[in-house]
């Protein structure tokens, strides 16, 4: 469904992504792991069109999209939940969700908007209770759920998640990852998940890529990647807590 071939991205003279190729099949969760500054967020921002790639191509559902502006890519069904959530804090929870439907909304689709809103509320009942609350007053975990729910409002087929676990307590991280699995199972979404929290990400992913200083280092099935000694040492901290089961 998504195929990236030889992607090159520069910030000025800095070569951030070096000939990166990866693909996401329909209905699978792909984890993109790597340390700080490896270029993970840059890759997602390039996929959604906030950053323009200087080389390579992005193929989505058989269509080249790397020349399209962000709004066209969103309309095609790609949605990014950015790092730091990017919710509109001064607006209410419901307004945030409604804005999520901007890409397909028209006056005649007001009814569909109501239905979609209800579907999302059934998925995340917490948001329905707090729908009149200002989004900025939600806790960190709730804001992350809101950000994901808002992304669902755009009716995406490919969801890009940038560090959904960032800044959250361990029990909340678990909850968020359960939600992500649920999205794959129930909505048949394809998900590209960028994470520093490699352990959690690998536990729900089908396949994984390791990105290091702008290059794909390893790729493979999640269990293979998790078992790779180099990955264990660098990303899963096996040297330090070797007896903790994965």
């Amino acid at each position: 469904m998504l195929q990236i071939r030889g992607l090159d991205v520069y910030y000025g003279k800095l070569h951030i992504l070096k000939k990166v190729s990866l693909h996401v099949n329909k209905g699978e969760i792909v984890a993109l792991l790597g340390a700080n500054g490896a270029g993970k967020s840059t890759l997602l921002n390039t996929l959604i069109g906030l950053i323009v790639n200087q080389g390579g191509e992005i193929l989505y559902q058989g269509q080249y999209i790397h020349t399209l502006p962000p709004e066209k890519r969103v309309a095609l069904g790609i949605t990014l939940v950015p790092e730091g959530k990017g919710i509109f804090k001064p607006l209410t929870v419901e307004e945030n969700l409604i804005l999520g439907s901007y890409s397909w909304y028209s006056f005649r689709k007001a009814k569909l908007l109501k239905e979609t809103l209800e579907e999302v509320y059934t998925l995340f009942p917490m948001l329905k209770i707090r729908r009149k609350q200002l989004a900025g007053t939600l806790s960190g975990g709730q804001q992350q759920i809101l950000a994901i729910a808002r992304a669902l409002m755009s009716k995406p087929s490919l969801l890009l998640l940038d560090e959904p676990s960032m800044g959250l307590a361990p029990n909340l991280i678990k909850e968020i990852f359960q939600y992500i699995q649920k999205l794959k199972r129930e909505l048949k979404l394809s998900i590209l998940l960028v994470e520093q929290n490699a352990r959690s990400a690998l536990s729900i992913a089908d396949r994984a890529y390791i990105l290091e200083t702008g290059k794909i280092l390893f790729e493979g099935d999640a269990p293979t990647i998790a078992g790779h000694p180099e990955v264990q040492r660098a990303y899963l901290g096996r040297d330090i807590d070797a007896d903790v089961p994965l």
Binding site: I48, L50, E71, V74, G86, F88, K89, L91, S154
Partner: protein, 295 residues
């Protein structure tokens, strides 16, 4: 008491106009974080163009009114397309503000070229004796101005809270990158904000001209008054800048009445300086709110 009321009413009248100008400032500030210092020229444009349609071409009042508003909107659109759009992505806000000053000089020049230096006026919306209220005289046009300000407040409320487009503009004001991620075309929002701003400023001109007359070089002072109102009420919040407009109008009118009419413009500048020095976020919001809460 009658005297006070009289000053108060005339303060409300100018205040309503300042409120409209401040609002035009605000709409553009919110989507682009630049100040359009050509705002006063748009007010003058509205008055002069209305005169042209009404007195020169002898068109009916309603037609002239709508045509003048459209011209205001179109000039706003032209300004965005020709001077802001090409550099919006690369230029920093200071440069963009300088561009708006350049545009204001250009617009003033064109207005002088087209209309000359004489003051222009035309009859108010409805003829008739002024209304006497508790001993103070209230012109009928003033009632119209209030009606329009209330209509605009309702329009803004509905637009920003009930329509998808208005919400998208709010989103764009709060966080431009996130707005893009929602599939919102932010450049389109900037364009609409310039059009709306042009319309509101021209409306101010159309409404005030029957009371005060208008000539080509009235713009800069109106810009300063509108800007002062916006700062007084807190740039960023529509309700705040409206309140700021009325407040400045009333204060000015009281100063002119009780102290000296020459102090009127001094007061505005004094308020502007004091606010910028001590409370740049405005009277009605904290600095924190100003950062967070827009519109």
């Amino acid at each position: 008491m009658e005297l006070f009321l009289q000053y108060f009413f005339s303060g409300l009248t100018v205040g309503a106009i300042y409120a409209l100008i401040a609002l035009s400032f605000n709409i553009i500030y919110n989507t682009t974080s630049i100040l359009n210092l050509a705002q006063g020229e748009f007010v003058v444009l509205g008055g002069l163009v209305m005169w042209f349609f009404l007195e020169k071409l002898k068109l009916p009042y309603g037609t002239s009114f709508l045509l003048s508003l459209s011209i205001g909107g179109l000039v706003g659109l032209a300004m965005e397309r020709l001077t802001i759009r090409p550099v919006l992505k690369t230029a920093d806000p200071l440069l963009l503000i300088l561009i708006t000053i350049a545009f204001s000089i250009l617009l003033r020049g064109v207005l002088m070229f087209l209309f000359g230096k004489e003051p222009y006026g035309y009859p108010p919306l409805s003829e008739g004796e002024p209304i006497v209220l508790w001993g103070a005289v209230l012109q009928r046009q003033v009632i119209w101005i209030f009606i329009f300000v209330i209509l605009i407040m309702i329009f803004l409320y509905v637009f920003f809270n009930q329509t998808m487009f208005g919400r998208a503009m709010k989103a764009c004001a709060i966080d431009r990158v996130s707005a893009k991620l929602m599939g919102i075309k932010t450049t389109q929002m900037v364009m609409v904000s310039f059009i709306l701003s042009g319309i509101f400023a021209s409306l101010a001109g159309i409404l005030i001209t029957p009371i005060t007359f208008v000539e080509y070089d009235k713009g800069p002072l109106l810009t300063i008054k509108g800007f002062t109102s916006a700062i007084l009420g807190g740039l960023g919040s529509n309700w705040g800048v409206m309140a700021g407009g009325f407040l400045l109008g009333i204060l000015e009118s009281l100063t002119a009445g009780y102290i000296h009419s020459g102090l009127k413009d001094v007061l505005a500048l004094l308020i502007l300086l004091t606010m910028l020095l001590f409370k740049p976020a405005g009277l009605f919001q904290t600095a924190e709110q100003a950062r967070l809460r827009k519109l």
